[in-house]
Symmetry: C2
Subunit: 614 residues, 2 copies
């Protein structure tokens, strides 16, 4: 497999694929080494959940700036040339995620991914200094995709000008808004081209603006608008200034903007507060529009019945939008998290390649929503503030309300994948209303039965390519007669149609492909692990050691009962099927074994039936 581009998208994909020693992956970039300073910085709650799956969320939590509240400033009605704080909201609503919304520079996120890749079974490192020169798409299923690279001066390859050819079954272009892969694929970004220009600067400054350590949206009467994004470390701050909103005599073509002009604009917007910039760490001006590619892979919608995709694009190669909502990097990484497990499972022979078109359909719908949101949000942001002179302007209070209403969207937790071979119908959604089909599995606190550890249930869902079954027990204790949970476990353990048995080869653990976990209603003090159904304490590995980490109970002591928090039916329980990208694939009744069998049969390949290249 070939990944082109070492940005956050390419690295998320590479980190996911590096989890499999049996998947051969190559990741290349034009740059001569890892990124030093990055443009993107906002990390949404949902992205933190994904980082937890990769094992580095706690490091990001420790190092990052936390966006706890967002403040809004607007012109003082009595003295419009002075701004005042008009509102303050909690940035993320309570209970939306167990993680905060944070700010951390992109280069650091890259480093954390590179660490994961290096230490994964695949032991993957990027090849830098190679520019994609040609990409030949296959004309038949047996042919590989052929990519030709030119070695660049600063690369670690054979040297400047040297050509290398890579043959790969799948190629993914994570090569940004000017994607070469997209060009070779014949795709294009469509939409409003470069309708907004922005200036952005990371500065060390002395100011008496009191909210310099809050995310702040500042609308001035006549001088334009800016966004304050405090940075990690306590001192640096990022200011985004929308250049088109500057006064007419300040509006200049972005190529003529200087850092001095940007600083001056920021000072005028923040008046009456002072701003003395002591050091400019980084600055840039860019033009951006809301644009979207029609297809994220190389197969036209009409052709999917006869041909399956072999070349994909992800991230900025598919969609561009303004930085205001701080979503770009997050949506891009989610593209890769959606695609990674699908590619791995197809290459490894676990899933049929027919699942691959779901990548484009699922992720393009998300980008479409994002772009619609961004267009509306950007328009409100850019509109002149309402005043007695200008009644057509937008009331900043309205902008604040809009911002608040769309909090789930900007947190990345609103994404919902529509029904498909990988996402079941909502027939049994009522059994677990808080685990919405198609949306990410919303974690909640539990206590592990075997060692009383308080933890988050969702954190067992690592980025390891496995499906997970979370079986929430019915009212009968799992060690008592008539327990639906025990009956399901008996089928999963013994019926040859069981997804746990059917899709794994004999030489791997029972949970290697589908990982069953149970949540019982009783606390750990009232149940004995030895009385749990045997498949919930499976013997694993060379020594047949018992895995004690399959059963959980509610965290009653913390007053947090997962059954209540997530609307799980206490009488009959529920079976929540979770995809490798943490999205809920299905909700079924505990006695829905047949439906479970059918669901998995829709996309998985029974063990031993895999034909390479199929």
């Amino acid at each position: 497999m070939l990944i082109i581009g070492c940005g956050p998208t390419g690295l998320t994909l590479a980190a996911q694929l590096a989890a499999f020693a049996d998947v051969s992956v190559c990741i290349v970039d034009q740059r001569d080494g890892p990124l030093q300073v990055g443009q993107a910085d906002g990390i949404a709650c949902r992205t933190m959940e994904m980082f937890a799956a990769f094992g580095f969320a706690e490091r990001v939590e420790k190092e990052a700036y936390w966006v706890n509240e967002t403040v809004f400033w607007k012109p003082d009605p009595s003295t419009p040339r002075r701004i005042f704080r008009s509102g303050r909201i909690q940035d993320v609503e309570d209970g939306l995620s167990e993680f905060p919304h944070v700010i951390l520079n992109q280069a650091r996120v890259h480093d954390l991914y590179l660490d994961v890749m290096r230490h994964s079974p695949g032991a993957l490192t990027p090849d830098y200094g190679r520019r994609l020169d040609d990409l030949r798409l296959p004309t038949s299923d047996g042919e590989p995709v052929v990519a030709r690279f030119e070695g660049l001066e600063a690369g670690d390859g054979g040297g400047a000008g040297e050509m290398e050819t890579v043959r790969a079954r799948y190629v993914v272009g994570c090569d940004g808004a000017r994607s070469a892969v997209r060009r070779f694929m014949g795709g294009a970004l469509r939409g409003d081209s470069a309708n907004q220009s922005w200036g952005v600067m990371d500065v060390l400054a002395v100011t008496d603006f009191p909210d310099i350590r809050f995310k702040a949206v500042v609308h001035s009467a006549d001088e334009g608008n800016l966004l304050v994004i405090p940075r990690e470390g306590g001192y640096m701050v990022r200011l985004y200034i929308e250049l088109d909103q500057l006064r007419v005599d300040e509006r200049v073509a972005s190529r003529e903007v200087t850092i001095e002009r940007l600083i001056d604009a920021a000072r005028r917007i923040l008046a009456p507060y002072t701003l003395d910039v002591e050091e400019v760490v980084w600055w840039s001006v860019y033009e951006i529009g809301q644009r979207l590619c029609a297809k994220y892979d190389d197969v036209a919608d009409d052709d999917t019945v006869v041909r399956l995709p072999r070349v994909f694009i992800a991230g900025d190669a598919c969609h561009t939008h303004s930085p205001k909502a701080g979503l770009g990097m997050n949506v891009s990484m989610s593209d890769a998290f959606n695609l990674g497990w699908k590619l791995a499972s197809v290459v490894r022979g676990q899933c049929r390649p027919q699942i691959l078109p779901t990548y484009s359909s699922e992720r393009r719908a998300v980008a479409k929503e994002l772009i619609d949101f961004d267009r509306e949000f950007a328009a409100m942001f850019s509109a002149r503030p309402q005043s007695s002179d200008d009644e057509d302007g937008v009331d900043p209070a309205e902008f604040q309300r809009y911002f608040q209403q769309h909090g789930r969207f900007t947190a990345g937790t609103a994404t919902r994948y529509g029904p498909s071979v990988l996402v079941g119908a909502g027939t049994n959604q009522h059994l677990a209303t808080g685990f919405e089909i198609g949306m990410r599995f919303h974690s909640a606190p539990v206590v592990r039965l075997a060692d009383a550890k308080p933890m988050h249930l969702g954190h067992v869902a690592k980025a390891d390519g496995r499906w997970r079954l979370f079986a929430f027990a019915d009212e009968v204790a799992p060690n008592a007669p008539g327990s639906r949970l025990a009956e399901l476990c008996a089928l999963l353990a013994a019926d040859p149609r069981s997804p746990l048995l059917r899709y794994r080869s004999d030489d791997v653990d029972i949970d290697a492909v589908v990982d069953l976990r149970a949540v019982v209603q009783q606390g750990h003090q009232r149940l004995v692990i030895g009385e749990m159904p045997s498949i919930l304490r499976p013997h694993k590995g060379r020594f047949g050691l018992v895995d004690y980490e399959k059963v959980f109970g509610p965290d009653r002591k913390a007053g947090q009962d997962i059954f209540e928090m997530r609307g799980v039916d206490r009488t009959v329980g529920a079976l929540v099927v979770v995809r490798p990208d943490q999205h809920v694939g299905h909700v079924l009744p505990l006695d829905g074994f047949d439906e479970l069998v059918d669901f998995f049969a829709g996309f998985m390949v029974p063990a031993g039936r895999y034909v390479a290249g199929a």
Copy 2:
């Protein structure tokens, strides 16, 4: 400065000293490289707090086994040859610490310290493969301590047999129970020598003992006792077996004990449960007694008026005891945390060398308590369980009560340093009853004023050698007339006697030696950072940037008001003085500026007055 020994004690000391680029440190060990498998494993809550000061608590939390509950098993009264679970207790009482009690192997703790050392200003790495051959104590203050080392075969030094001489102002022996430094110093461990022999094994086993993932204390009727300590990673378990408690025909000199005998003993104790050991990862037999060295430095008590210490010992070199309470490594690391900042501040000319004798007096008292506790605890642990045949035995329920009562002791949070030049009198303790003078600063949740970040107040106390003043505001808002907090701040900012001014040179930040933080009673939404006293938003560094991280408020949203939780007087407030090792040095009223001045004058050297070698 010379540190001998790279165990947890030596590494804690080295990590603390590496924080100062201007302190020259050398750390040596006999071993040929970092430890691979370690004996110690328990990490008490208090130690986790210290790890937080070094910046790696969150990694230990992630990797370690969490001791959430401890279970007790004893002979079934009706069938004494079978054990049953007689009790279950929460391991750490609620609110004792923000950190859990965890288990992580010692080698991993070493790695984390080595990382800290490498990345500190001192960029310190150990010199391995050197054995202390001679240590010459100075006869006058002007002379150095002279240590001679012999290079060992496997070392990275000049080679086997090569001699090296190191001259150091201070030498610390962290070289274990058979300490060579102690021998050269003329000290000896006194107490019960080797009165207990223990077998310990880290195994991968299959068992139906239901509490194999809990810390378990198991008393059998006739087969002896054992301790189950689950290990990180979910599978490995450590079993401690007291050999003297085995049946007469099984009691053998420890040198004749084999791993097969240990496993057999464990199986008999755990009956009727089975235990199949699949792999022995590590095992050992050792004899241990409760022993203590009379002095932790090279100056006899009578001589302290004429001479100051130059050679110290810490950790196992000072005290040995049984592993039952899991305290050894923790007390040893705390020795080093107590000594490290004192040595650094003396060498750097900030404190007078007269503070050095407090190390021995403060830490020896702790070890004395530990040994008394251990003797009592060990006796109860080893006693035969009470039964109808043996009424003199100890009722395991009594043992359980004892264990519970001493939870604060085993968590390491009960340590209290007595009054000295570094610990004030309790005259004003009533102003902040939850910050007990001489005990560690008991952290509590707060919200940072400038960015609304919820955090733990105690976590601002890093292992950076600085003293901290936590000023808890009085009832008057800090921006209103008559605020005692504001008045204190004014004195601290301007009075030449202010500890913030008097002990720092002009070329460093205002908080370089004494770091002032304030906790106000109002939430962050009701106060503006710009209206805080200016010393609470100091300009720092080359650019004079504002440090916004000095002021905090209660975390009302979480329902956790630090004033209430720690018994701080809401009317008049309180000033809590915290030492660089996180122990409370003093509690004073906010208008106690003169007492504060006097307290610091008792041990600090005004800037510019330092005479090298004084």
